[in-house]
Amino acid sequence: MPVTVRTFASTGEAAAALSSDRGARYLGGGTLVMRALNEGDISISTIVRAHDHALTRVDATGSRVTIGAGVTFARILAERDLAFLHAAARSIGGPAVRNMGTVGGNLFASNPYGDFAVALLALDAVVSVQGGLGSRDVPIEEFLQTRERQTGTLALAVSFQKPASADAFRYRKIARIKPKGGSVITLAAHLPISSGRILSARIALGSMAATPIRARAAERALEGRTLDATTISAAAAAAVEGTSPADNALASGWYRREIVGVHLRRLLSGQE
């Protein structure tokens, strides 16, 4: 069924068009919205686009990183200042998908996709969104939990504090086809260390619930500790707490619960 395509010069106009039409969806790289259209999703009656340069801006030179929602994964891989995110970007799609798929779109990607959002959740990112009433910043955890209701808002950018060291941010995706298949589970950890102790640990899990979630019990097991074998064991044992993984073609929920602690242990102890 043909849909109406509306293209705007600014994100403000695009956001207004999105919020005033329940059947409107924002088209980023196309890997989600065009796929839905190809599959005959009749809930989409209007496609909204914006040619705003702000959407493709990357600011990664300082300690605070801002990435426009329209930035592709290929672009992330080309940015040396974003080396800590390269593993996450590389785990998504093949080269064509990485040339198309965007950081903003990934926030809306449902299981078994949305791996970049898992990385951003561990980084405590803030999502700048523009709705009908103006723009605001939403913590990514809140954004992900409410994303079913966010289709009328336009994601503009994500921003977060750059990890202090290469070792402080870790990412691991378990897939049947390595590295880019759909996620069996995805893990990301941000472990800021101050005087040898972990402060404000963040563990994010993908495919362990309907949206990426934080493993709060594992975070508590790490908080204020040194990253030694005892701490890692405690965190690994707590990884499954609060998760509700579903069955899909890639793995059963039971299997996901079985392996999440194993892979968190490997991630924390730096094993391949």
């Binding site: 069924m1 043909p2 849909v3 109406t4 395509v5 293209t7 088209l27 790289g29 196309g30 890997t31 065009m34 796929r35 259209l37 190809n38 599959e39 496609i47 686009r49 290929a74 799609g93 093949g94 080269p95 064509a96 998908v97 040339n99 198309m100 880019k180």
Partner: protein, 159 residues
């Protein structure tokens, strides 16, 4: 519903078509322009059979809104032909038995071209990475990887 006028470069030639809202580039190429070289595989971004180059960059035409290529250059497998002469990549695919049923071949060739245009002497790992978004259910990939490496090492008559 009104159609939208769309102009772009298709394999070096300017084309103008009218598309329905929401038409993807693959449908526009096949049904409106008559270029049957890009294939419809999954419509989901999973198989790579519809791969084309947009301004030299590898894209999936089935997930590209046709209107977004306005004013841009789209290259499909059809651009590789030169009368009866095969492109070095096509020759290497033939010589190395890299095509069996042939359905993935257009996408494989475009993914390989995207690689060699940027990196004329890729490693085996880089070739594997470059075609990692393209599914082949016949060859087991080894002949395809060998063909791309052979095309690279054999030097290419034209880019």
């Amino acid at each position: 519903m009104a159609k939208t006028a769309l102009q772009f470069r298709h394999n070096g030639r300017d084309v103008a078509i009218f598309v329905d809202g929401g038409t993807n580039l693959l449908a526009a190429l096949r049904e409106l322009i008559g270029d049957m070289t890009p294939k419809f595989g999954c419509g989901q971004g999973g198989c790579g059979a519809c791969s084309v180059l947009i301004d030299g960059e590898l894209h999936l035409s089935c997930l590209t809104l046709a209107e977004t290529v306005a004013g841009r250059s789209v290259e499909t497998l059809d651009s590789l032909k030169d009368g009866p002469n095969l492109h070095p990549l096509q020759r290497a695919f033939a010589d190395n038995f890299a095509a069996q049923c042939g359905y993935c071949t257009p996408g494989m060739l475009m993914a390989a071209k995207a690689l060699l245009d940027r990196n004329p002497q890729p490693s085996r790992t880089e070739v594997i990475e470059a075609i990692s978004g393209n599914i082949c259910r016949c060859t087991g990939y080894e002949p395809i990887i060998n063909a791309v490496l052979a095309a690279a090492s054999g030097g290419r008559a034209r880019a």
